[in-house]
Amino acid sequence: MSMTLPPSGGSELTPGPGVPEPGPGAGAPPAPSRRGNSVWRDAFTRLRRNPAAIAGAVIVVVFLLVAAFAPLIAPYGGNDLPGRKEIIPTHIPGPGEFEQYLLGLDRFGGDVFSKLIWGARASLVIGVVSTAFGLVGGMALGLLAGGFGGWVDNVIMRFVDILLSVPNLLLAVSIAAVLGQGQYAVMIAIGVSAVPIFARLLRSSMLQNKGADYILAAQTLGLSRRTITMSHLLPNSVGPVIVQATLTLATAVIDAAALSFLGLGGGLPQTAEWGRMLTYAQAELGIAPQLAFLPGACIAITALGFTLLGESLRESLDPKSR
């Protein structure tokens, strides 16, 4: 399995003054800052030679740029309806019909091109926030379970089992039902449903590393359990979690679109969100299929980018692939 990330050098054994004690927010990727031939640097070298990784990275970078510079790229605002007057019930202007609306209009009179661009921003925000939420929650649970073991481990893992006993989307829907419709509800719902996987991954990876020689060495040196867990066990166990976070970004983008497709996003009907655009494309599938295909393709391509990147990262961290 790709879970084991053996420490690369003997320098790991002594906690030199240069190794900072990770604080409570130890969720940040710890290793890249380390010098020497760390696993991360090694993985990065291999990543650059992998065409799938490059393709994924390019998609992700383009997506990030579009999301960041949405106000500069999009000709109209996300919720604007510049073409309201051109819409008649039987006809929705498609791509090329009006020079100023590159990809045509939707049923509300919104500019599809602008909405796709603003939709990237919405997806990015939901994807990143909900993944971060799941990551922090899952890592906290996994760290407690893996760090303490015993009954703490038991209680936490049973709780995770309960969360896992409800299918993901259903869990998200139930959460959104309590929180009401809206962006925050969607983010929390997706975040919570991502907690179990992070918790399980970190725990199992920590358990695998617990028996490693460098942990034994650290124990022999008389380091405290906290230091061992936080500065040795955690940094060496976090690899699979980071890989999973990249992959979760892909599913978060898809799930966010699914929830807003189901109508849990809240806000105005014409809000620029890819999932929402698909909801309203449903009725016009026969006369204006591009209204469904364009946002759908955006979701798929973004998810593809994160998936390619995540999988390549997983491969490059796998000791077997060296």
Partner: protein, 334 residues
């Protein structure tokens, strides 16, 4: 084997108990409190007070929980705010539709996925392999509901081969015994009804089956690659056994264990997918009903359906564990 099954069922109890506590807390945190949630639009102060007394929402929390559990155990999940029928009844009439859909999706996913994964593994790093890998990647990144749109547009709107929505053409006056429409048609010998119901299942089934298909392809490929060079396969070949025998008895059988797990896990995901697919195809299964329940804030339905689905999901996982024993005798011994 029986002891293993018993142990697994025993392990289910704490999980479901925990879930019931979560759901209990959940109902109490619904906007406006449980009484308002139960009453919906009809929530006048008098009605709220009446519900609070009838359901005992004014009593101590432990008593409330025990009462709630008592109701659940006796199968009383309340009444749907929208239809006025009991939640159990609603579930029972819609569940067969979703099961039919899931079966079609699963047959498609397994029937195509395992051969494709095997084929990819036997031609590893050739075009067949790349083709399967790309195909499965696409299956994972294309959202189910978007795929449903594409299928509907191509095969129901542009090429009118399949119906666009529903479970059966309402003009067919079919008799329904079991609420499994295809099965009903076969039982009553109304062949046209069975065929029509089946045609309604094809597109949603394909849409729903694509993600499991993609994942089954990957897992099959990976696990066939694990065993294909195993010593016992080489021995079998050295003994001069036919390729067919080696494939069926040695490679596939040993490679199937991870695939079985995957299929079990996918079933849970398919319930999520069913919510989306059924919405696109206006297919009246539990998924679409749940979706409507979100909008109409039909909390008894939401709560009841979540419990039913969790139990169903747990049973599936149990079956998967049992099937390990059937596939791999080593598991039986432990």
């Amino acid at each position: 084997m029986l002891r293993v099954i018993g142990k697994r069922i025993a392990l289910l109890v704490p999980t479901l108990l925990g879930l019931s506590i979560l759901l209990f807390v959940w109902v109490r945190n619904l906007p406006g409190g449980p009484a308002t949630a139960l009453l919906g639009d009809k929530a006048t102060p008098e009605a709220v007070a009446r519900i609070n007394e009838a359901y005992g929402f004014d009593r101590p929390i432990i008593v409330q929980y025990l009462q709630y559990m008592g109701k659940l155990l006796s199968g009383d999940f309340g009444v749907s705010l929208q239809t006025g029928r009991t939640v159990t009844e609603e579930f029972a009439t819609r569940f067969p539709a979703t099961v039919e859909l899931t079966v079609v999706a699963l047959v498609f996913a397994i029937g195509v996925g395992i051969p494709l994964g095997y084929w990819a593994a036997r031609h590893v790093r050739k075009w067949q392999d790349h083709f399967s890998v790309v195909l499965s990647l696409l299956g994972i990144v294309i959202p189910v509901f978007f795929l449903a749109f594409i299928l509907k547009w191509v095969f129901a709107i542009q090429l009118p081969w399949f119906p666009t929505d529903g479970r059966q053409n309402p003009r067919i006056n079919a008799t329904h015994i079991t609420d499994f429409y295809v099965l009903d048609g076969l039982l009553t010998r109304e062949w046209d009804a069975a065929w029509d119901a089946f045609m309604h299942l094809v597109l949603p089934g394909l849409a729903l089956g694509t993600i499991p298909l993609a994942i089954i392809v990957r897992i099959t490929r990976a696990s066939v690659l694990e065993v294909v060079n195993a010593d016992y396969v080489r021995t079998a070949r050295a003994k001069g056994l036919t390729e067919k025998l080696i494939r069926n008895r040695f490679i596939l059988r040993n490679a199937m264990l991870p695939v079985t797990t995957t299929i079990g896990l996918q079933l849970g995901l398919m319930i999520s997918g069913a919510v989306l697919t059924e919405t696109v195809f206006a297919f009246s299964g539990i998924g679409r009903f749940l979706r409507d329940a979100i909008f109409t804030l039909d909390y008894p339905v939401l709560q009841g359906f979540v419990i039913f689905i969790a139990i169903f999901y747990a049973l599936i996982n149990l079956l998967v564990d049992i099937s390990y024993g059937l596939i791999d005798p080593r598991v039986r011994v432990q």
